[in-house]
């Protein structure tokens, strides 16, 4: 049946390199969304240990103070920043803001107005801001 529909399926999402930075941003948006969802689930499990008493809560908090805990939190910071900034770009674009104006297309038709430099700049800024926030978070957590 799969052969009949010839649908690319989930592997269509997994390779972000074929269609430029916009497709890479789409892939990263999905990845960070799933990462944040996993963090929220883990966060609920973490905070729910408080019902088992102070010792259980302190033990759980110790986990976040390890090197692995700091790295995971730094990743969460990076994912949050990218997802927020790129999310604002996508929301504005989906409202028709910054996607260019329709016009007479010229040969060789390889510069679609919707994939303009404003959007590319926003994507690079989202990645840059996420990296900066992660570095700052690592600096605070490791106290370097």
């Amino acid at each position: 049946m799969e052969k009949q529909t010839n649908r690319e399926g989930i592997k269509g999402w997994l390779n972000p390199t074929r269609y430029g930075i916009e497709r890479f941003a789409y892939w990263l948006m999905r990845l960070t969304g799933l990462g944040l969802l996993a963090y929220f689930v883990a966060h609920i499990i973490e905070t729910s240990t408080i019902v088992d008493g102070k010792d259980a809560w302190d033990k759980m908090l110790e986990l976040t103070q390890t090197t692995e805990g700091h790295i995971i939190l730094a990743l969460v910071i990076g994912m949050s920043v990218f997802h927020t900034v790129n999310g604002i770009r996508v929301m504005l674009g989906q409202g028709g803001i910054g996607v260019g104006k329709p016009g007479r297309p010229d040969y060789p038709y390889n510069k679609p107005a919707s994939l303009n430099n404003k959007h590319k700049l926003c994507i690079y800024a989202s990645i840059g801001l996420a990296a900066l926030a992660m570095l700052y978070g690592l600096q605070v957590m490791f106290g370097v």
Partner: protein, 256 residues
């Protein structure tokens, strides 16, 4: 000029011959009616600067394997028949020059997200039915041919609002590149959505509300996540991603 001409005539064939190189063309062969797996068959094909992928496939058909299934017609990127996956990306075979691919091996496969009929030929049935569903024609009570009515005058600005979207040749490349089409079998697709915008933006048309009602569906316009791949692969500058976001503006109340 007269002195140069004979020299050119003698030297030209030699010069052209020396520029001729060869590539390996890997063609996907698959008949879903009789086979269960896709096979790739390799052919070594000579090419020159302007040889297109379609030219190379036709060389294979003429000299090596006549059974290769390929659909083509105009050979000048106007009919939208020869869309296929070339080195992993959807493109028109007649519009893709081998020399521009910068690869010694060129793999051609049927486009993703369309059922395969045979080898490189896919079925456009679903795309055409989605296109038809969006009422791809001017809806108006008035008619240019009715007695006592005038022609519909449009300014150049009015025309520019929809002109690029009317360039669509229904080749299906946008639907093949779309990540939502890859997983959602009911999604209308960028081709049909761009055509919905083409008519909504036309000031002669009165069917805006009908079309907006059709696309305002759980598998309609809201499934687009603005990955932009549809616009990246469009060979005619239609920019479906722009059309979809502008169309969404009507539903969100940003546009009237």
């Amino acid at each position: 000029m007269a002195a140069i001409a004979p020299q050119t005539l003698e030297e030209k064939p030699v010069a052209v011959e020396s520029q001729s190189k060869s590539i390996t063309l890997r063609i996907s062969k698959f008949n879903p009616k009789t086979e269960s797996n896709r096979n790739f068959v390799d052919f070594t094909i000579p090419y020159k600067k302007w040889t297109t992928v379609l030219d190379a496939i036709l060389v294979v058909k003429e000299n090596f394997d006549h059974s290769v299934g390929v659909r083509y017609s105009c050979r000048q990127s106007s009919c939208g028949s020869c869309g296929m996956k070339i080195n992993g990306k959807p493109a028109l075979a007649c519009y893709t020059k081998i020399s521009e691919l910068n690869s010694n091996t060129i793999t051609v496969e049927p486009m993703d997200n369309f059922p395969i009929i045979r080898d490189l030929v896919v079925s456009f049935e679903r795309m055409f039915s989605a296109h038809k569903k969006l009422k791809p024609y001017i809806i108006s009570e008035d008619s240019e041919i009715t007695k006592d009515t005038k022609e519909f005058l449009q300014t150049p600005e009015d025309v520019e609002k929809y002109l690029q979207f009317s360039n669509c040749i229904k080749c299906g490349l946008c639907n093949s590149a779309c990540p939502t089409m890859a997983t959602d079998s009911s999604f209308i697709g960028p081709q049909a959505l761009a055509q919905a915008y083409r008519y909504v933006a036309d000031n002669r048309d009165k069917g805006k509300n009908d079309r907006l009602k059709i696309i305002d569906d759980s598998h309609g316009i809201w499934r687009c996540h603005f990955a932009g791949s549809c616009s990246k692969v469009c060979p005619k500058g239609v920019d479906p991603a722009m059309a979809i976001q502008l169309l969404r503006g009507y539903l969100l109340g940003f546009r009237k």
